[in-house]
Subunit: 322 residues, 2 copies
Amino acid sequence: MSQRAGVSIKTVSRVINNERYVRPATRARVEEAMAALGFQPSYAARALAGGKSFQIALVCSNPGPYYLHGLIGGLRGRCAAEGVRLIVHAYETETEELGEDVLSFFRQMNLDGAILTPPIADQPVVLDHLDRAGTPYVRISPAADLDRGASVSIDNHGAARMMTRRLIDMGHQRIGFVIGHKGFSVSEQRLEGYLDALRECGIALDGSLLQQGEFSFQSGAAAAEELLGLRRPPTAIFASSDDMAAGVLSVAHRRGAKVPDQIAIAGFDDTDLASLVWPGLTTVRQPIRAMAERAAELLFAGEQERVVLPFEIIERGSTGPA
Amino acid sequence: MSQRAGVSIKTVSRVINNERYVRPATRARVEEAMAALGFQPSYAARALAGGKSFQIALVCSNPGPYYLHGLIGGLRGRCAAEGVRLIVHAYETETEELGEDVLSFFRQMNLDGAILTPPIADQPVVLDHLDRAGTPYVRISPAADLDRGASVSIDNHGAARMMTRRLIDMGHQRIGFVIGHKGFSVSEQRLEGYLDALRECGIALDGSLLQQGEFSFQSGAAAAEELLGLRRPPTAIFASSDDMAAGVLSVAHRRGAKVPDQIAIAGFDDTDLASLVWPGLTTVRQPIRAMAERAAELLFAGEQERVVLPFEIIERGSTGPA
DNA sequence: TTGAAAGCGATACCAA
DNA sequence: TTGGTATCGCTTTCAA
C-alpha cells in the first residue's frame, strides 16, 4: 500500500488522519493509491495504537420505541459526520446490577464518548469511572449532580406542573395521575410537579388518584382500569409518559367514555406523534430527537454545558370536565 | 497482571477465551487475580490480534420506531449472552449511494456478523463482499436471491392476499391500498398480494384506489386524504405498514368517518401494539422481535437456513362495508 | 498443560 | 515535510 504511493507507512497514516505537514502532492498520491487499492484502514489497529475506539455508546435502559428512535435518529447524523460508530447498549433495568455491567463495558471499549439516559445517568460510580478514564459523556434528563459534566434536559417539574394547572384551570378537580417507572428521576420530577400544582391550587391530594406505572402502554392501561373503576372516578387523567397516556386513552375508549368530553387525558410526547395519532390527547412535547442532537453536539465539541431545552404543551380538542 | 497469578500472559489469554487445557487450579488463580486487579482485557487488542471484532452490526434504513425497537429488542439478549456488541448502522435511504457506505463500513470493522434489512439486504454487492470477507450475515425479509445465506421473513404476499380476501369476503368491493416505500421489496410483495386477491375474486382494479406511501404516519395520512376525497371513496383501506395505517385512521377520524362502521381500515403491525392502540384496526401481525431473535440465533449458530415465520391476522371490531 | 516469541496494523515520538 | 522504530495488548504458533 505505502509502496504503491512511494511513501512510508507513516505518511499514509498522516493522510488517513488528516494531519498537517503533508505536501499536497504527496497527499494526492497517497489518496490515489488508496482508492486504486480499495484500501481501508483497520479500525482495530487504529484503536489499539491510537488509544481511541472511534465508537461512542448510547447507554439506555430498555426504552420505549419512540424514545429509542428519537435518540438514535438524533445521534446518527453527527456520528456519521465524525466518522464514529454508535453502539447501542440497552439493558434491562430490573435484571442487572445497575452500573456493574456498564462499567465493565466502558473499561473494555475505551470509548470516545457516551450518551447516558436515566437511570444510569445518575449513577455516581459510572460518572466517576468515566471521569477517571477521561471519557467524555453527556447525560440526558439527569436528576442528580446536575452540574456534573454536560447534560441536556427539559424542565420536567415545570412541565408537569403547568399541565396540571391547565387541567385545573379548565375546571377539573379530580385528576388522576399515572406515575412513571420507579427509579427514574423524571418520574419523581413529574409527580412533584403534579403535586405542587394541586397544592398551589388548594386541592387536597386523594391518594386513590395516584397510580404507579412503568412507562409502558400496558401499565398505562392497567392504571386507567383502576382509576376509571373508582367509585368516584377522575374527570381527567395525566400520565407521565406518552406510551402510558395511549394506554389510558385506549382503556377510556374501551369503556365507552367519550374523550375528551367525558374525560380529559394528558401525557407527555416524545415525538410529536402521540398527539397526532391519538386525537383528544393533550401533551407536553418533549423534543427527544432535538435533545439527542444537542447531546451529540456537546459531546463532540467537548463542552460541559448544562442545556435545558424548552418544552411545549400541545392541546387537541377541548378538555373541560364532563 | 499475569505476575499476580504467577502465570504467563498466554495463560491469562486462555482463561479469558475459555480455552481448554488450563488446569482448574490455574484458572481459579488467574480469575482471582483478574477480579482483584479489576482487570478488563482490551477489546481493541483482542480484535487486532485475533482478527475478530466482538461486534455485529444491525444495518437498516431509517426504520420506523416500532420496527427499530423490535429489532434491537430481539437482538439484544443474544448479543449480550455472546459477549458481542451491537452497532446500529442506520442510514437514510435517499441520500446515500446504496451499499458504498455500508461496504466501507464492513471493510473497516471486520465484523463478526451482520443483520441486514431491506433494501440493503437485497444488494448483491453487499452480500458478495460479506461472502468474500467470510462475515456471517442474516437477512430479514429479503426479496432477491432468497436462497443466499440465512434469512428470516414472513410470507408478505400471502398475508396481503389473505387480508384483502378477508375484506372482500366482508362485502367490500372498493378497497383502497397504500403502497409501501419504493425500493423495498416487501412493498411490492404486499402490493402483489392485494392485486392477486382482487384478480382471484374478479374485481377490476381501479387505479385511483392505489396510493404511494413511504411507511410513515404522515404518508399514510396523505394517502388517506386522497382516497377519502375521491368522488367514489373506498369502503375499506388497506395500508401496507402499521404507521401508515395509523395515519389513515387518524385522517378518517378527522374527517368524521366512523371506523369501522363506515370504513374498514387494515394494516400490518410490527409489534402487536398498533391493533391495541388504535381500536378498529385489523392487522397482519408481523413478529419483528421474534424475527430478530431468530436471526440472532441463526447468526451465532452459523446456520444457513431460510426461516419463514408465521403471521397472524388480528381483527378488532366488525369491518363490513357501510 | 504451560510458556516464549512473533506478529496483528496501525500510531507516536523522535530524527532526519 | 517525511521516515524509522518502538509500542499498543492481546492471539497465534510452536516448542517444552
